[in-house]
């Protein structure tokens, strides 16, 4: 049994890692879609698209790993969460369809119709981001479980809290997108992205603050996790670090640094994500199902662990190589398209 407990924890970290990589990597390219309406110029839009065209597909693969990995390692959690999050999940999928095909379609459409695919890209990105944030809120606020099934209705996810987390995630993605543009573009486009990063950072801090204040009121257990002695020794540094990173991020924008704003935004996401982990652990369906209850048998988890141990470092290696190949600023005249 001890071995099983360890395995489930290891798998919880692997899934959490996959979801985190997805959130930040697809986060910045969804963020670009959210920001698209603010960049009406065609050349700017071409540059924005070209800055992610070679990598977006790889970014989205982490979402499939997060979903498929959960089904494989924690099938019970997958079986409860997906029907509980039915509407946001379907909305996310439809959003991802529209924005995914837009990458190729907008180059293939006749000039008059290109604008339609720009709208599809922007709308699909925003829809997917909101849906993911709403799903997160719906998980945090608790899910009605009966036996091995979801026991609620198909609108239970809709609450003011889940709407708030939906908006918070969309703002966060937009910040990642804006700082990505600071890193990957130059001239007026970069300047505009830099100005946007300022306002988006403040919006994100408000959003983090709001979610952090409300979460402890959702369930007494969340409050105890964060504020009870001695937990607070370990939890208190998280908000302090958020403040510190935000200051550094502002400074890096002021100093016109290319890389730091994006990297610091990633760090901000990592800290928020750590906060979520602190709230949820060891539940995978909060307050109902722990990672041990949801775990698939040892044979399933070990079989996959071998693959993960060998392949994830390899994947990170060649993904890094692909980013390296397309490193540097994207210029209008040297676009990939």
């Amino acid at each position: 049994m001890t071995a099983n407990i360890d395995l489930a924890t290891v798998w919880a970290f692997i899934i959490a890692f996959a979801v985190f990589v997805y959130v930040v990597m697809d986060g910045f390219d969804l963020g670009l879609g959210i920001l698209f309406p603010l960049f009406p110029d065609k050349t700017d839009r071409d540059v924005i698209m070209n800055s992610v065209a070679p990598v977006w597909d790889g970014n989205e693969t982490w979402l499939v790993l997060g979903g498929g990995g959960t089904m494989a390692a924690f099938p019970l959690a997958y079986a409860i969460l997906m029907p509980a999050l039915y509407t946001p999940i379907i909305a996310m999928l439809i959003g991802l369809v529209f924005r995914g095909v837009a990458f190729e379609f907008r180059w293939r459409a006749p000039p008059g119709k290109r604008n339609l695919w720009d709208i599809a890209f922007a709308g699909g990105s925003l829809l997917a981001a909101l849906a993911q944030g709403i799903a997160l809120g719906a998980i945090l606020q608790g899910i009605h479980v009966e036996g091995r099934h979801y026991g609620g209705g198909w609108w239970d996810w809709l609450t003011p809290f889940s709407i708030m987390t939906g908006l918070a995630l969309a703002i966060g993605y937009a910040l990642l997108g804006a700082t990505w543009l600071v890193m990957k573009t130059e001239g007026a486009l970069r300047d505009k992205a830099s100005v946007l990063s300022w306002s988006l950072l403040f919006a994100m801090l408000v959003a983090i603050g709001a979610v952090s204040i409300v979460t402890p009121f959702l369930d007494i257990a969340y409050a105890q996790r964060w504020f009870a002695w001695p937990n607070i020794i370990f939890t208190a540094p998280v908000p302090i670090a958020v403040a510190a990173v935000s200051v550094l991020l502002l400074r890096s924008l002021a100093n016109r640094s290319d890389y730091q704003p994006f990297l610091l935004s990633l760090l901000l996401f990592a800290l928020s994500y750590l906060g979520l982990g602190i709230s949820m652990y060891p539940y995978i369906v909060p307050r109902s199902v722990t990672i041990w209850q949801a775990a698939s048998p040892e044979r399933s988890q070990i079989f996959m662990l071998v693959g993960v141990a060998v392949l994830i470092p390899l994947i990170l290696g060649y993904t890094g190589w692909a980013y390296w190949v397309f490193r540097g600023k994207v210029r209008p005249e040297s676009g990939y398209h």
């Binding site: 065209a53 070679p54 597909d57 790889g58 989205e60 693969t61 790993l65 979903g67 498929g68 990995g69 089904m71 494989a72 390692a73 099938p75 019970l76 997958y78 079986a79 409860i80 969460l81 997906m82 029907p83 039915y86 509407t87 999940i89 379907i90 999928l93 439809i94 369809v97 529209f98 995914g100 095909v101 990458f103 190729e104 379609f105 180059w107 293939r108 459409a109 099934h149 198909w154 698939s296 048998p297 044979r299 399933s300 079989f303 996959m304 693959g307 993960v308 392949l311 994830i312 994947i315 060649y318 993904t319 692909a322 190949v325 397309f326 005249e333 040297s334 676009g335 990939y336 398209h337």
Partner: protein, 471 residues
């Protein structure tokens, strides 16, 4: 709007949704598997010979690949989440076995494809021709890895072995090698990969023929048409043999599916007929207006004229698959297979006569056969999946017990949404694909990159020479 689904059964709606989204999805991986390999072959030929026609064809088909691959990716993400959303009970029970197989598909295939796709589409100038060829080859290998794992998972649902059932009712693994290489997997894998290659060959052949009908001397059109017709001529006979073997395997492990495909409602003591046509009547339990060849059914399935064959009358009615669907989908697949054989043989004859590029009849035939691979793939997929009914895990887990605890309005609304979205997106995608195919491959054909000055890096002489200098 959601209220209109109150009269429906949520399970039927979930099945309709899976069938709909899967039918749209499956054609794209089938095309991508074949096209990725074709692109790797074209690039290898270009590197080996330096002939410009190969890189022109490579860039021509690369643009088409980019559009098709994108559509395959987004419709595939839908499938991976639909399983949990609509089929939660199945995900809980089969997750410990099917989940890891799909996770391996993501780890070995999806990442490999998407990781190198960017370089394949946009990176020729940045990495040089040789590294670029490595990227193309890895994408092609990725598509085959993907087929390996997903067909292993699918085959396990058809012929489950190597499992135990735990107290929670979950299927748990007892032996992974048995699970991965379950009895129907090798047959299904070979059959599907060959189908993907044939499907692509028919599309390439149709596009080549379309342009030959306008101009017999287009070098690109001649090369692609000739390559495609070799594939049709050589691979179709192998595919028919593989299909026959797959059928024998199905007879051994899923005889009820075969009874449905053949319309064998009753048992035959001394040799079963082959129904060429007929209207299977599920309720009455017989094939109406049947045109049959006596004893041929037994000959094909058992390779013996008088072999007795059990029929659906030996099976409880609640375990019958929907006979009319698989009876017809099977005949559509087989019929198209023999038309493909006809095309291949016709092309051999014309080649022998030296009229491969002149015969308008052959070219018209090839254009007409362009979509045949897709139709055959979907028909074959319907045959094997509908033939698995009324189970998700064959003989063990009923479809009715696999669904999510959702009300019909939820499933009906999402089905409606997918239908609307897919018709918009796929109509646009097909339009763009047709528009790309309607252009002949040009001299100095560009890839998906649209930068103004591109020629230096991608002409073979300059590219290969530059590579040579650095070595």
């Amino acid at each position: 709007m959601a209220a209109m689904f109150n009269g429906f059964d949520a399970v039927d709606l979930a099945r309709a949704q899976f069938a709909f989204t899967m039918a749209f999805h499956i054609v794209f991986p089938a095309f991508s598997i074949g096209l990725a390999s074709y692109l790797a072959v074209l690039e290898a030929l270009w590197l080996a010979t330096g002939r410009e026609v190969f890189i022109n064809l490579f860039n021509y088909w690369l643009k088409i690949f980019a559009v098709g691959f994108g559509m395959g990716v987004v419709s595939g993400v839908v499938i991976s989440y639909e399983l949990g959303a609509n089929w939660a009970a199945y995900s809980d029970k089969a997750g410990p076995i099917v989940g890891p197989l799909m996770a391996y598909e993501v780890l070995t295939a999806f990442f490999l494809e998407s990781g190198f796709l960017g370089v394949m589409l946009f990176g020729m100038e940045r990495v040089g021709p040789k590294l670029h060829f490595v990227a193309t080859s890895l994408v092609a290998i990725g598509t085959l890895f993907s087929a390996f794992w997903i067909l292993s998972a699918n085959s396990w649902m058809q012929t489950p072995v190597g499992y135990a059932v735990n107290p929670d009712g979950q299927f748990v693994p007892a032996g992974w090698l048995k699970i991965i290489f379950n009895p129907s997997f090798p047959y299904r894998f070979v059959h599907m990969v060959l189908a993907a290659y044939l499907t692509t060959a028919l599309v390439v052949g149709a596009v080549g023929a379309f342009h030959l009908l306008r101009d017999q001397h287009l070098p690109g059109a001649r090369v692609m048409f000739s390559m495609a017709m070799w594939m049709a001529a050589l691979v179709t006979p192998i595919q028919i043999l593989a299909g026959d073997q797959h059928g024998l395997n199905t007879l051994e492990h899923q005889p009820v599916k075969i009874m449905g495909m053949e319309g064998h409602f009753q048992s035959y003591k001394d040799g079963a007929p082959l129904y060429l046509f007929g209207l299977p009547d599920q309720a009455a339990g017989k094939v109406k207006y049947a045109i049959e060849i006596p004893k041929l059914g037994s000959l094909i399935l058992t390779h013996s004229l008088d072999a007795p064959m059990a029929g659906l009358d030996t099976v409880p009615r609640e375990n019958w698959p929907p006979v009319p669907i698989i009876f017809w989908s099977f005949r559509i697949m087989v019929g198209l297979g023999f038309l493909m054989l006809g095309l291949g043989l016709f092309s051999l004859w014309m080649r022998w006569q030296g009229r491969l590029y002149e015969s308008r009849l052959l070219h018209l035939f090839a254009v007409a056969m362009g979509p045949a691979g897709f139709i055959a793939v979907v028909a074959g997929w319907f045959t094997t999946e509908v033939g698995r009914q009324p189970f998700t895990v064959y003989g063990l887990l009923r479809t009715a017990d696999s669904a999510s605890p959702l009300a019909a309005p939820a499933v009906g609304s999402s089905l409606t949404a997918f239908v609307i979205v897919y018709f918009i997106v796929y109509a646009a995608g097909l339009t763009y694909l047709f528009r790309l195919m309607a252009q002949p491959p040009h001299q100095g054909e560009q890839g998906p990159s649209h930068a103004p000055v591109r020629a230096a890096g991608i002409t073979p002489a300059a590219g290969v020479a530059a590579e040579g200098q650095t070595l």
